[in-house]
């Protein structure tokens, strides 16, 4: 049965105008269909879609805490298995709730091989509490805890944690990075992730108009630039076979990183110094030099 025309995610929620997270969620639900239970970590998505007594979810949905979405999903999956029920169990977590505080629960879920699809919507900071840096915040981004000034003109000094590779190294059934702005690739990966049994992990880029400081109408355009500059590469790994990682998308011609930086206030300071832009370009080029041979559309 194809449920693409149906909406399992209702309007009337409180996510900011132009937030990308609901685009990801509505499509994951359309492709999963109604036979689904969702677990949500604390974060913007959870807070803004379930302001009591209202909910935007049209499938059963559970929130427990910030750090344990993967543990709660594991428990639901174990119960479903005991009852002999076959259904989609999907966890949604932000980057804080996945890459940092929920990482232990996620690692355990994947190691035990629970039949769960975990979707990280990565807006690259703790947005719901006011834009604090996380392990997923990229090098050079301003946040309220990686402030930019004379003492530190760069912003965040550490690179982004390669969380999807780390989860793949657990020998997860399926791991992929995805970008809703590269829509066909995104959709294919969601469908593929749903088709497998076992622990699956999708790392999806999710622009935040408030924290990235951009015009809300530019959400999809900026996310597209993330992959067209090579900053957010799109790949997949089956059964933890990182040697055979498959890069699924490559622009015909890479755009310079400036194009991604320019429309976002969180990177404005980098543009003032060509050295910083060059440094970021070098990081991107180094990734592609190391892994680019995995391109296999």
């Amino acid at each position: 049965m194809n449920y693409e025309k149906e909406e399992f995610f209702a309007p009337g929620h409180g996510m900011c105008a132009g937030c990308a997270a609901p685009i990801i969620v509505k499509w994951v639900l359309k492709l999963a269909g109604p036979n689904t239970i969702v677990v949500n970590a604390t974060g913007c998505l959870e807070v803004a879609t379930t302001a009591y007594p209202h909910t935007s979810w049209r499938v059963p949905w559970l929130h427990v805490a910030f750090e344990n979405a993967a543990a709660a999903a594991s428990g639901i999956e174990a119960a479903a298995r005991a009852k002999g029920e076959k259904l989609n169990i999907i966890a949604f977590g932000g980057d804080g709730g996945t890459v940092d505080i929920g990482f232990q629960a996620l690692s355990g879920m994947v190691e035990r091989g629970h039949n769960v699809l975990y979707v990280l919507y990565d807006n690259e900071a703790y947005m719901n509490t006011g834009i604090q840096r996380s392990g997923a915040t990229p090098w050079g981004a301003w946040t309220t805890t990686s402030k930019v000034g004379n003492a530190n003109p760069i912003g965040k000094l550490q690179p982004k944690k390669p969380v999807a590779r780390i989860i793949a190294a657990h020998n997860a059934k399926y791991v992929a990075t995805a970008n809703p702005a590269i829509f066909n690739d995104f959709k294919k990966k969601v469908e593929k992730a749903l088709s497998y049994d076992g622990a699956r992990f999708l790392h999806v880029i999710s622009s935040c108009t408030t924290g990235w400081r951009h015009d809300p109408s530019k959400t999809v355009e900026i996310m597209k630039l993330a992959s067209d500059t090579g900053i957010f590469p799109l790949w997949e790994v089956v059964d933890g076979d990182l040697e055979n990682m498959r890069i699924t998308y490559k622009p015909k011609k890479f755009k310079p990183v400036e194009e991604y930086l320019k429309p976002q206030g969180r990177f404005r300071h980098l543009l003032k110094n060509p050295e910083y832009v060059k440094k970021l370009q070098e990081q991107v080029d180094a990734w592609w030099a190391k892994y680019g041979h995995h391109y296999n559309p």
């Binding site: 009337g12 105008a17 509505k26 007594p53 209202h54 109408s217 355009e221």
Partner: protein, 105 residues
């Protein structure tokens, strides 16, 4: 509601539709049906979601689209009860069939 349900359980799926978030809007997207090629890109990306997709003949008739536009393809319609005016549809429409105008209140 004066009593919180046990476990703060909400029993009515999708009841956030009671919140008419269209009041947030500062700019308003308006589809120009003479230009629209029904590619569904706006429907695909609207985060609310506040773009309706009409596939059957009956619901198509109720849309603001001119009758000559109601060919086989689906028809999109903006649901102003919920459209927050983010402008993604306006920015992404490949044929510039969406105008983005200041909301009059």
């Amino acid at each position: 509601m004066d009593v919180i349900t046990r476990g703060a359980v909400i029993t009515e799926p999708g009841n956030s539709v009671e919140n008419k978030t269209g009041t947030w809007r500062v700019f308003k997207p308006v589809i120009n049906y003479d230009k629209c090629i029904r590619c569904l890109i706006c429907w695909q990306f609207c985060p609310e979601p506040a773009i309706l997709r009409h596939d059957d003949e009956e619901t198509k008739q109720k849309t603001p689209a001119p009758k000559e536009a109601l060919k086989k393809l689906p028809v999109v319609e903006i649901d102003y009860d919920y459209c927050k005016g983010c402008g993604i549809c306006y920015n992404e429409c490949p044929v510039h069939a969406i105008d983005f105008v200041k909301e009059e209140k």
